[in-house]
Amino acid sequence: MVDSGYGVGVIMVMGAVTLALRALPFLAAQWLHKHPAVQALGRFLPLAIMTLLLVNAAVGAAKSHTGGPWPEWLAVALVVGLQWFGKHALVSILVGTGAYVLMRNAGALPI
């Protein structure tokens, strides 16, 4: 069993560290506003970070099983294609996730 007092302590510490990281740019806002490089970064970073989160999550998923990263490649390509042409986020996510679950569980299905 995990001691609840210890658990609360861990949660408070993790919460404080996370909040401090998220608040740091806003606390330093006055300084950051003087630097045009920071403003330009705000336009450059979102696409870069979203790409990184996508690739990092897909790589993490691919490492969680044996047999190569094919389900991840195929499912991500499917989602990207659906979203690019269809523009329905929910449909893209549902179909992509459905296809991924099928591929990952194909061996276990009683066919």
């Binding site: 609360v8 990281l21 999550a57 986020a89």
Partner: protein, 235 residues
């Protein structure tokens, strides 16, 4: 409130679009939250601790990382350091939102607290002039989905049987959808190519810290890029 840009959206329309914006997040957060709550309780913690973690910490990757650490009984200092490393990327999220967040004290504070990967990506997708209340609602709903999923997973506990693997792909699909939308609205494609190249190198050099290294490299490249493209500096 005097800084509020004029908004043409009717309340009903904006409520609809808030739901549409957070629906994909819900698709990722509810199953992922459920898995977190389930695993956390399985690891031997009380159900209410799982919910408390999702209310107070509200950071997916860090919370997943928390499960083996709390089972091993690591010191608070080690856990703080690990959280710092895993969540360091959040420092850079605020940079691109400095002028977008509400001016109201509590609304601003809550949005800063709730700046997860997904909330960040939805907020950066919102058009300029989005009402403050709508931004806060997006963040609140997103945390609501996460806490709801956690509660379901924690309460089901040992009774649940996870037979399908890969349901958490919903979160990867969400990142893919948001990357496509960022790409559609791009000024330049450079951030994507820089990110891919940086991640490739980082993965080869230090797989454990690939995300963090690639983010740092992307920031450096972003500074270099804006110095080379002065016409993009202002409007």
């Amino acid at each position: 409130m005097s800084q509020d840009p004029p908004s043409s959206a009717t309340p009903a329309a904006s409520r609809l679009s808030v739901l549409a914006l957070t629906a994909p997040v819900a698709m990722g957060y509810i199953p992922l939250g459920t898995v977190f709550g389930f695993l956390f309780v399985q690891a031997g913690a009380a159900w209410w601790l799982a919910i408390l973690a999702s209310v107070v910490v509200f950071a997916g990757a860090a919370q997943y990382m928390m499960i083996p650490m709390i089972t091993a009984g690591l010191s608070l200092g080690s856990i703080a350091l690990a959280t710092l490393i895993v969540n360091l990327r959040h420092v850079f999220y605020g940079l691109s939102l400095l002028n977008k967040l509400p001016s109201g004290r509590w609304q601003r504070a809550y949005l800063v607290f709730g700046l997860t990967d997904e909330t960040y990506s939805v907020l950066t997708t919102l058009p300029a002039g989005t009402p403050q209340r709508q931004m806060v609602l997006v963040a609140l709903l997103n945390q609501g989905w996460w806490v709801l999923g956690t509660a379901v997973g924690a309460v089901i506990g040992a009774q649940a049987q996870v037979t399908l693997v890969g349901l958490d792909f919903a979160l990867i699909a969400l990142f893919a959808v948001l990357a496509v939308e960022q790409w559609r609205g791009r000024q330049t494609g450079a951030p994507l190519w820089v990110a891919l190249a940086a991640y490739g190198v980082a993965l080869a050099v230090a797989p454990q810290h690939a995300l963090m290294l690639a983010i740092v490299f992307s920031i450096a490249a972003g500074i270099f890029w804006q110095a080379r493209a002065p016409e993009l500096r202002r409007g």
